[in-house]
Amino acid sequence: MQLDIQIKRFNPEQDREPQWREYTVTLEPTDRVLDALHAVKWHHDGSLAFRRSCAHGICGSDGMMINGRNRLACKVLIKDLRQPIMVEPMRGFPVVKDLIVDMAGFFDKYRSVRPYLISDEAPPRTERLQSPAERERYEDTTKCILCGACTTSCPSFWANSAYVGPAAIVQAHRFIFDSRDQGRAERSAILNQASGVWRCRTIFNCTDACPRGINVTKAIGEVKKLLVKAATRPPHPPPTRD
């Protein structure tokens, strides 16, 4: 089939403003948007710049706005989209070139929530065990692939880039609710700041945008409730492990 695809192009060495360019490529309806981008780059304009790596929805490299919604180009089939397909970079990040955005700030915020296991207990001889129920508590937020689709669909982030953003909160949630982790207070202090979870206005764009189907808004709500509980209950000693 003939496919019309419009791509918002920007070359910082030539353009003052991004501009839309239209391409017509031949593809199967069951091909993906990523295949369309490949067709453009390989057969029409080799200067087109975009990120992609695994091409199977796992690495999160090809997050972009497709027909007005943040998606992974490798997970969206041509037949499911209205033509012409409009592809542009994710909003809210500085554009480096074409569909490539600068995600340095995004990863700074990711690192700010301490996205790793914090424990001062001596490492056990085998694994740090937990029950299936304890594992299930944070199952949803383990699915995050850090593509940035949620953060760049969030109007609060567009309005104020100081907001830590849904993706970083999801990552914090993954460890805050992990029974083996002891860094809850540190992460809570970070997320309780004005640029933390309280900038979430419960708009649900993030949940809608997540290509992994994570209930992002629910996870943010759980962190908010945890902070309220911490503020209304007296400090408690760390849990002891038998």
């Binding site: 914090i118 104020n160 207070a185 540190e186 202090a189 309780n192 309280w198 503020a231």
Partner: protein, 128 residues
């Protein structure tokens, strides 16, 4: 660094944004009930044509409706003002403009709140 020590004394102990979030949820729920009650009374049980000075005077003869209206006024004004504060915080970035916008908001809301509260608290019926 001993991380257990930080766990033992959790830092998040409130803050304006946290309590503002709690207030918005509680006041929102209360306002839903209060506003629905107001709607039923003023627009379904009584016709708008019936609402006159005498109607208000009769209503404000006791403290129940004064308290009801005062509670609704305080919650609605603070809920709305906080919502507008959040909007200003999100979208007005230059410090001077933000201060000006917040100043206008607080003075305006404070004035309206004082005016409404004055009526609810000190209304005295005048006989014609």
């Amino acid at each position: 660094m001993n991380l257990s020590s930080s766990y033992a004394s959790p830092k998040p102990a409130g803050g304006l944004e946290l309590w503002s979030w709690v207030f918005m949820r509680i006041s929102g729920l209360l306002l839903l009930g209060l506003a629905l009650g107001h709607l039923v009374l003023m627009h379904l049980i009584h016709n708008v044509d019936e609402i006159s000075y005498a109607f208000v005077a009769t209503r404000y003869a006791g403290w129940f409706w004064r308290t009801y209206d005062l509670l609704m006024l305080i919650l609605a004004m603070l809920h709305g003002m906080n919502g507008a504060r959040i909007l200003i915080d999100d979208y007005v970035h230059p410090v001077r403009w933000r201060r000006l916008a917040l100043g206008v908001l607080y003075v305006g809301c404070g004035g309206l709140l004082a005016l409404g509260a004055g009526v609810a608290l000190f209304f005295q019926p005048v006989s014609h």
